[in-house]
């Protein structure tokens, strides 16, 4: 097996687990948001997003298996909140929505856009296309929730929590040297960003999409920017 197929199989298997977790998270958050913001369109979006994510799980798992990396998912999986214990319920939901949607789904959208432009293999392209149509909505629902919350309550508490949120979003290897056997072109054909490109997309998305978005809705992006400067320093 080539290094690209092996690495891509692992990446698609990881994505299958990420998508399964997202489905569980959106199911849970939809209920809580509906409890304190009954006029919000976000819970309905989250219910649809959870269904999308279950479909994405299957797509990613199938691709992983075709690359020699079968995925075993736990059908009884549960997913605790990632929010700090110090937050009240409404703040904790906002923290989790910003982490899952405004940061991670926005980063995923940038990744998908980059991969789609890189001429992947037809089977991979089909999966990327199918997933990207949904991920646009999943990112938007995060920004929709932050927008509504910023009009209703003080959201500035998030600013000092953004560094911890971002640190939990990445793998430490993001800022390390690429594997010596990395095959960038092979990875792109199989729907995976080579490390240098992945870093470029991650940084660009934070600096030009996520941080300006947070600032627009009253969350000071400076703590996040300082964390990024430190994390990305050589």
């Amino acid at each position: 097996m080539t290094s690209a197929r092996r690495a891509a199989g692992e990446a698609w298997a990881f994505r299958a687990r990420v998508e399964q977790e997202a489905a569980l998270r959106f199911d849970r958050l939809a209920i809580v948001v509906a409890g304190f913001d009954p006029g919000s369109p976000v819970p309905a979006m989250m219910r649809r997003a959870a269904d999308d994510e279950r479909r994405h799980t299957e797509l990613c798992a199938r691709l992983a298996a075709s690359l020699g990396k079968p995925v075993v998912l736990d059908p009884e999986a549960n997913l605790p909140s990632i929010a700090p214990r110090s937050l009240d319920e409404r703040q904790a939901v906002l923290y989790e929505v910003v982490a899952a949607c405004c940061v991670t789904e926005t980063e995923s959208m940038a990744t998908l856009t980059t991969l789609m432009a890189a001429e992947p293999e037809p089977e991979v392209r089909e999966v990327l296309h199918s997933i990207s149509k949904d991920e646009v909505v999943h990112s938007r629902m995060g920004w929709a929730h932050l927008s509504r919350e910023s009009a209703a309550v003080d959201v500035s508490f998030l600013a000092p929590l953004i560094p911890g949120m971002l640190a939990g979003t990445i793998d430490e290897s993001l800022f390390a040297a690429p594997p010596t056997d990395e095959d960038p072109e092979g990875l792109l054909r199989l729907g995976v960003l080579p490390l240098e490109k992945k870093r470029e997309v991650f940084l660009g998305t934070l600096e030009q999409v996520v941080f300006p978005g947070l600032e627009k809705f009253g969350v000071d992006p400076e703590p996040g920017r300082r964390w990024l400067a430190g994390a990305a320093a050589p």
């Binding site: 959208m109 856009t113 646009v136 932050l146």
Partner: protein
């Protein structure tokens, strides 16, 4: 990568979605309001964490 376009589509597009009239959502949300979150919806890490993605 057209980050400016992503900002417009995702961030500004999301803000527009969030501003929709409430009436259409109220009935569906009332059904959700009657539910309770799963008992395991607690907090994993006292300092907070992030969500890994693609």
């Amino acid at each position: 990568m057209q980050f400016k376009k992503l900002f417009q589509v995702l961030v500004l597009g999301g803000a527009m979605v969030g501003a929709v009239a409430a009436s259409a959502c109220s009935q569906a949300n009332a059904q959700d309001k009657a539910k309770k979150p799963p008992a395991d919806a607690g907090t994993k890490d006292s300092a907070g964490s992030g969500v890994k993605g693609w």
